[in-house]
C-alpha cells in the first residue's frame, strides 16, 4: 500500500460556481426590478382612487417590493459567500494538482540501487528507507491538510450562508465541539491523520508503515510511544481547562457520554435492548464497543502495527511503575479520546447523507407558493384589456409538472405523463413494475446511445483506493451501467428485475455513488481483498448493488424494491 493521487478529494471548479452565482443574483435582481415596476405603475391609482383609508390600497403593492428587495439582498450576500468559496476551490485545485504531481513523481522514482559504498551503507542500515518514509509521511500530511482545508472552506461558506438568516446552522469540525453536536462536518488535519492510521483515507498510507526494516520499525515504535504520551498530556490539559476551550468541551462531552453509556448498559432493565442492539441501549453498546476497539487500536494494527504497538509502551511502563493501577485510567482516557476521534469518521462521512443536497437545492426554489399569481391570472381574464394567458386557459399554473416519483431514492417512473392513469400498473407491467419502457422510448435507442457516447467521450475510467486495494472502473463498464440503468441512456433492454437510477443523475453523481458504495464496504474489502464479491450499500436512501472482481468493478445498479 502506498500513497496514490487517485484518492485525493475531488474539488469543484470555481468558474461554474461563479457563473451560476451571477445567474442567481441576476434572477433575484430581475424579480426586484419587476416588483419596482409594478409598484410604480400602481401609484397611478392615486389619480383615480379616492376613498376613506385609501392608503391601504395605494400602498398595497409596497410590501411585495420590500420582500423582493430582501430576497435579492439575500441572494447577493449568498453570492458573495459562494464566490469566496469558488476562489478558495480554485486555490485548493492548484494545491491538489501540485500534490498529485509530487505523489506521482515519488511513486515513479526507482529505488536507489547505487553502487557506491555510501549507498550500500545507507541501504544496509535502513537509513534510505527511513528517508523514504519521511518523504511519504510529508506527502501524507499534505493530503490530510488538503482534505482538511477543503472541509474548512465548505464550513466557512456554509456558516456564512447560515448567518444570513436567524435559524441557520453553524458547523464545526469534529473535536472542536461536543460529541453530540449534530452540526459537525469534516475533520482537522490531525483527525485525518488518525483516519490514515486506520487505513481509512482514500489517498493511502506510506508503505513503510507495514513493511519496514528494523531501523524504521524501531523509529515507528518510538514515535508511537511519544505521540501517545503527547496525546495523553494534551487530553489532560484539555480536561483541566474545564470547558473554557472548544477542545476542552469536546473532551468533557466525550467523557460524559462514555459515563452515561456505561450507566445505560449497566442498567439491568436495558439488558435485552443492549443484547439485541436496539434503541438507546443498543446505540450506547455500539459506542462503547467503538471505544473499546479504539482503546486497543483495533483498526490501526493492520495499517500501522509498529506505531500502534509503540502507543502501548507508555501503558506498559506505567503498569510496571504503578502496579497496574495507572493503566485502567489511561485506557479510559485513551478510549474517550479515541471515541471522540473514532466517531469522527461516522460524522465526517455524513457526506453520504448530504449527498442529496444538490437535489434538494435544485428543488428548493421550486417550493414557491404562487397560488396567488394563479388567481391573478384568472382575474386578468375579466379585467379590461387583461390578456388571457395560455396556461390559465389550460387550467395549470406556471409550475412545472410534477417530477418523477421516487421510492427509496430509486426513480421508478418518468412522471411527466399528463395523468396517472396513463401510467402502467407498476406491479403488473411488462417490466415487472419498474418502469414503462415506452415512456423512454420517445427517444430512439440510437439517440440515447449517441448521447451516452458523447457523455463518456472524455471519461477515462476511475480509480478508487480502498484500504490496501486499488479498484478500477473502466469506461466500458460505466457505459454498460448507464446503458442498462440510466433512463436517459437506456439501451432498451429489460431484465426480469429491472431498476433505474434517477434520470437526472449525472456522470459525476454516478462516480460519487460508486465511491460511496465502496467506502461503505471498505472494511469488507480490506478484510477479503478485491477478488470477486458482491457488495451492497445504502446511499441516498437507496440500496446499491456492486460486484467487484479482481480489482475491477463489474456491476453497479440500484436494487429493485418491492412496492
Amino acid at each position: 500500500m502506498s500513497l496514490t493521487e487517485c484518492g485525493l478529494p475531488p474539488i469543484d471548479a470555481g468558474q461554474p460556481i461563479r457563473d451560476a452565482v451571477i445567474d442567481l443574483t441576476e434572477a433575484a435582481g430581475a424579480i426586484h426590478t419587476h416588483a419596482g415596476t409594478i409598484t410604480r405603475g400602481w401609484t397611478g391609482l392615486a389619480h383615480s382612487y379616492h376613498a376613506p383609508e385609501q392608503h391601504l390600497v395605494l400602498q398595497a403593492m409596497s410590501p411585495a417590493e420590500t420582500h423582493a428587495r430582501d430576497a435579492e439582498s439575500l441572494a447577493r450576500k449568498a453570492g458573495s459567500a459562494l464566490i469566496t468559496y469558488a476562489n478558495r476551490c480554485d486555490e485548493l485545485r492548484r494545491t491538489k494538482s501540485v500534490l498529485a504531481k509530487d505523489i506521482r513523481d515519488h511513486n515513479a522514482r526507482p529505488e536507489d540501487h547505487g553502487g557506491s559504498l555510501l549507498d550500500k551503507a545507507a541501504r544496509w542500515t535502513g537509513i534510505d528507507e527511513l528517508g523514504r518514509l519521511a518523504v511519504e509521511e510529508a506527502l501524507l500530511n499534505r493530503c490530510n491538510q488538503l482534505q482538511a482545508d477543503l472541509d474548512e472552506a465548505q464550513r466557512t461558506c456554509a456558516n456564512a450562508l447560515g448567518r444570513l438568516y436567524s435559524v441557520g446552522a453553524h458547523y464545526e469540525p469534529v473535536g472542536q465541539t461536543t460529541v453530540t453536536d449534530p452540526t459537525v462536518y469534516g475533520l482537522t488535519a490531525d483527525g485525518y491523520g488518525q483516519l490514515a492510521r486506520a487505513g481509512d483515507t482514500p489517498w493511502g498510507t506510506p508503505a513503510a508503515w507495514q513493511h519496514a526494516g528494523t531501523l524504521t520499525q524501531v523509529y515507528l515504535v518510538g514515535r508511537g510511544g511519544a505521540d501517545s504520551v503527547v496525546g495523553l498530556v494534551g487530553l489532560v490539559g484539555d480536561l483541566a481547562q474545564v470547558g473554557t476551550t472548544r477542545e476542552s468541551r469536546a473532551a468533557w462531552s466525550g467523557l460524559w457520554q462514555l459515563t452515561t453509556d456505561l450507566g445505560t448498559v449497566a442498567n439491568p432493565a436495558a439488558l435485552p435492548a443492549t443484547l439485541l442492539g436496539v434503541g438507546p441501549a443498543g446505540e450506547a453498546r455500539g459506542r462503547l464497543w467503538s471505544t473499546a476497539k479504539a482503546g486497543v487500536g483495533w483498526d490501526t494494527w493492520g495499517t500501522s502495527p509498529y506505531y500502534t504497538a509503540g502507543g502501548f509502551l507508555p501503558d506498559a511502563l506505567s503498569a510496571y511503575a504503578t502496579g497496574g493501577t495507572a493503566v485502567a485510567g489511561r485506557t479510559a482516557f485513551k478510549g474517550a479520546l479515541s471515541a471522540a476521534a473514532r466517531r469522527l469518521p461516522a460524522r465526517a462521512t455524513s457526506i453520504e447523507r448530504l449527498a442529496s443536497a444538490q437535489r434538494a437545492l435544485a428543488s428548493s426554489a421550486g417550493r414557491l407558493n404562487t397560488r396567488s399569481l394563479d388567481q391573478v391570472a384568472h382575474l386578468s381574464e375579466r379585467l379590461p384589456s387583461g390578456p388571457r394567458p395560455a396556461h390559465a386557459a389550460a387550467g395549470s399554473g406556471w409550475r412545472t409538472p410534477a417530477g418523477p416519483t421516487q421510492h427509496d431514492g430509486v426513480w421508478l417512473h418518468q412522471a411527466d405523463q399528463p395523468a396517472a392513469a396513463a401510467r402502467p400498473d407498476t406491479r403488473t407491467g411488462p417490466t415487472h413494475g419498474r418502469l414503462d419502457p415506452g415512456v423512454y422510448a420517445r427517444k430512439t435507442v440510437k439517440a440515447r446511445t449517441t448521447a451516452l457516447d458523447a457523455v463518456l467521450k472524455n471519461w477515462d475510467g476511475m480509480h478508487v483506493t480502498v484500504g490496501h486495494d486499488a479498484i478500477a472502473l473502466t469506461r466500458e463498464r460505466m457505459h454498460h451501467f448507464l446503458a442498462r440503468h440510466h433512463p436517459q441512456y437506456w439501451d432498451g433492454s429489460v431484465k426480469k428485475r429491472q431498476s433505474f437510477v434517477d434520470p437526472e443523475t449525472s456522470l459525476q453523481e454516478m462516480e460519487r455513488l460508486i465511491r460511496a458504495t465502496l467506502f461503505a464496504n471498505r472494511h469488507i474489502i480490506a478484510t477479503t481483498g478485491s477478488d470477486y464479491r458482491k457488495l451492497k450499500a445504502r446511499v441516498d436512501g437507496a440500496t446499491w448493488v456492486m460486484a467487484i472482481d479482481n480489482g475491477y468493478i463489474r456491476m453497479f445498479y440500484p436494487e429493485e424494491k418491492s412496492l
Binding site: 471548479a13 461554474p16 460556481i17 445567474d23 442567481l24 434572477a27 430581475a30 424579480i31 419587476h34 409594478i38 400602481w42 391609482l45 383615480s48 379616492h50 376613498a51 376613506p52 383609508e53 391601504l56 390600497v57 398595497a60 403593492m61 410590501p63 411585495a64 420582500h67 439575500l74 476551490c89 465548505q154 461558506c157 456554509a158 450562508l161 447560515g162 444570513l164 435559524v167 441557520g168 446552522a169 457526506i351 448530504l354 443536497a357 444538490q358 434538494a360 437545492l361 435544485a362 426554489a365 414557491l368 407558493n369 396567488s372 399569481l373 388567481q375 391573478v376 382575474l379 379585467l383 384589456s385 387583461g386 394567458p389 387550467g395 406556471w398 412545472t400 449525472s506 459525476q508 460519487r512
Partner: protein, 129 residues
C-alpha cells in the same frame, strides 16, 4: 375624511396593467429556480455548501418570494373587488375589500382548489376555478 370617489375605468386600467405585469413573475421565478438548479450542479463535490444553500433558499428566500406573489395577488384582487363593490354602491363591502388589499393572503390549504376567498366573491357569481 376623504369621500368615496373612484374613476372606475381608470382605476381598473391600473389594476389590469398590474395584473398583466404580475403574470411575468412566473417566468422570473422560473429563472430563479433554474439558476438555483445550475448552482446545485456546480456544487457537485461541495455537499455541505449545497445543503446550506438549500436551507437558506427554503427557509429565507422562498418565503420572501412567496410574499411577493401573495402580496401582489392580494393587492390586485382586493382593489378589484373594492372597485366592483363601489360600482354597485356597497361601500361597506368595498371598505372590507380595500382592507384585504393591504393584507398578506391567507395560506391556502394544500390541495384546495378555491382561488378566491369567499368574502371576496361577487354576489351571484361563482368564483372562477
Amino acid at each position: 375624511m376623504t369621500q368615496w370617489n373612484i374613476a372606475h375605468v381608470d382605476a381598473l386600467g391600473v389594476v389590469s396593467r398590474a395584473a398583466t405585469s404580475a403574470l411575468a413573475y412566473q417566468g422570473k421565478f422560473r429563472g430563479y429556480e433554474t439558476a438555483t438548479g445550475t448552482l446545485g450542479s456546480a456544487l457537485t463535490y461541495s455537499p455541505l455548501v449545497a445543503k446550506a444553500l438549500s436551507d437558506l433558499t427554503t427557509s429565507a428566500v422562498v418565503p420572501h418570494l412567496d410574499e411577493v406573489a401573495g402580496r401582489t395577488g392580494s393587492a390586485i384582487r382586493g382593489t378589484n373587488a373594492a372597485i366592483g363593490f363601489y360600482e354597485r354602491g356597497q361601500l361597506d363591502m368595498a371598505a372590507d375589500a380595500q382592507r384585504n388589499a393591504g393584507l398578506a393572503p391567507c395560506p391556502t390549504p394544500p390541495g384546495s382548489r378555491r382561488t378566491t376567498p369567499k368574502a371576496l366573491r361577487r354576489p351571484g357569481r361563482e368564483a372562477p376555478e
